[in-house]
Symmetry: C2
Subunit: 341 residues, 2 copies
């Protein structure tokens, strides 16, 4: 297995990316890392790490796409960037199994969709984070940003892809699928939800019904289906509140005097554990699901730990039957009655 | 001022409703409470409280609408319910200034929209919670559930209504308005967002631009505009994470042994303060904005404190120039170029 790693994507590139990749390499013997980025800088930085040198390769990709650039324009103009070059190689050369980047989400998405082949039957790939639940399990949130506007067919495909991921990668038997809505009753939802609800109900899925956003993390669902706009709102709202709560705790401990500081010292292991559970990046990145190759978008603020987890996640998926399983499920959709739009 | 209070709505009715209403009554001399509900039960329960008896009235409304009932069906069949009777009186009798309920959101919304007149020029009333921000201010989230499907005109009206609320009720000068989106760049958003963005840009508002969901609570915006579906997702996701975090802290303190328990005792004041800040219900309920009368929907799980806050909020709004201010802003919209759909 060869995993392409964008060494110059994200807020902490290249050092944390390199560190995370080497950590992953040293924890698992099954793969080779192929770094994309400025060859000189990479060679220099890598000299500080210990690793099996025959398991690390460098492909020179000097330009970097920033978050402010238009993704499609960057795709056209920066063919030698770590993102575009990496995804081009992933598409054209069968020795590469996956691509991991913490760089511009827009550029990774646009380039991947333009360069890579979709799984037969998939209309739109989706960006899919795996979130932690209250009962220490995971929930697949599909889509969380690849498609701001969706139709019912897209959402039905998301449901099948999400369920495939839960089964194949997370080992969940008969995953419980929920449709994100503004209430749990069957009739709740916007026009899109009302369109897709009967399709999900009659699909070959363990469809539980409408899920309120407050239930995403409860562990009642293994897969939450939604359009990329609403999924992004759910994900970012959750992040916002988690950041707000932790910053409130910090602020109030600082102004709370000696008593609060002593309390904090005693509770430190508890806070550490919670920060670990809440930081969904520890479990890896978001997968771009629906393509014939594995693409993982790690969080832009990723540090070594999260990059390492994303690389191991990419390896796990590349080794799994996920893409075949999705291909096996989706064609059945095409024959069914919903393939009208 | 006379404020109608649904004594039989919400999870803790009627006792917490009565308690909260009497607390509000005793804290402010400017109004009369008119309870709606079963007269016998109300009379019996009220005997346990101290208050000026000439400031409390009871209107017999024996039936109760549950959360499971279809709101429109309940509206038709349960005219003698506390919700329908209360809103009917609010509409027909000018001595009543506001209605407060912690009962079925669907029934309050449907009945209010069917019974009450809209402010001239308002196409759709919106449900609007006032959320706490990191810098101890408030943010107006409009809409968070009244309209699952919206067009650009609805959202533009929401922006004007939200800004009016921020100015008139919260005292914010030149409120900063953001459009909830899946990214902060101008071009981000779904089809609806792209439609309304230029309208907001050219509107007579302090429009800042697209707001990511993670920025809702940062205090960078005074008003966040969105459709009722996305707003509901944002609100409920935030609730979900807050509940998850607090329950994780509790769980880990319980299993953390003596050390964690001591830490908790020391940090108790900090946790209490945070719980108070995070509990947006302490500031009142969600207002149904766009109607000619004041309707407040308190959270279904409201206890006395939140009911009391909702009643004081209703009083504040009824005394303010909010409805006139909205009426003054919205007609200008009708003359502008956007009134095409």
């Amino acid at each position: 297995m060869k995993i392409l790693v964008d060494a110059f994507g994200g807020d902490n590139a290249p050092l944390e990316i390199i560190k995370g990749a080497i950590d992953a390499l040293n924890s698992n013997k099954e793969f080779v890392i192929v770094f994309l980025g400025d060859e000189n800088i990479l060679t220099k930085e890598l000299a500080n790490f210990h690793y099996e040198s025959n398991r690390v390769e460098i492909i020179h990709a000097p330009s970097v796409i920033s978050n402010d650039e238009s993704p499609t324009e960057a795709f056209r103009k920066k063919r030698d960037s770590s993102i575009v070059k990496g995804l081009t190689l992933l598409n054209s050369d069968s020795q590469y199994n996956a691509f991991v980047s913490a760089g511009s989400s827009g550029a990774v998405l646009a380039s991947a969709v333009l360069l890579l082949k979709r799984i037969k039957g998939v209309t739109r790939p989706a960006l899919v984070p795996i979130l932690p639940t209250l009962n220490d399990d995971s929930v697949v949130l599909i889509d969380c940003g690849a498609n701001a506007d969706c139709n019912a067919k897209n959402l039905l495909e998301f449901a099948y892809m999400g369920a495939s991921y839960a089964t194949t990668v997370l080992g969940v038997k008969n995953p419980r699928v929920g449709l994100l809505s503004n209430g749990s009753e069957d009739k709740k939802g916007n026009a899109l939800n009302r369109d897709v609800f009967p399709l999900l109900k009659s699909a070959n899925l363990n469809f539980i019904g409408n899920a309120e956003a407050r239930e995403i993390l409860t562990g009642v669902y293994d897969v939450i289906v939604t359009d990329g706009f609403s999924g992004n709102i759910a994900l970012k709202s959750s992040e916002g509140v988690a950041i707000m709560l932790l910053s409130l705790i910090k602020k109030n401990i600082l102004v709370g005097g000696l008593r609060a500081k002593i309390g904090y010292l005693f509770l430190k292991p508890v806070f550490k554990k919670i920060a670990h559970v809440m930081d969904y990046n520890n479990k890896g990145g978001a997968i771009l699901l629906g393509l014939q190759k594995v693409v993982i978008k790690a969080h832009g603020s990723s540090k070594a730990k999260s990059i390492s987890a994303s690389i191991i996640q990419a390896l796990t998926i590349a080794k799994s039957q996920l893409i075949n399983n999705i291909a096996d499920t989706i064609p059945k959709l095409k024959e069914s009655s919903i393939d009208k739009d």
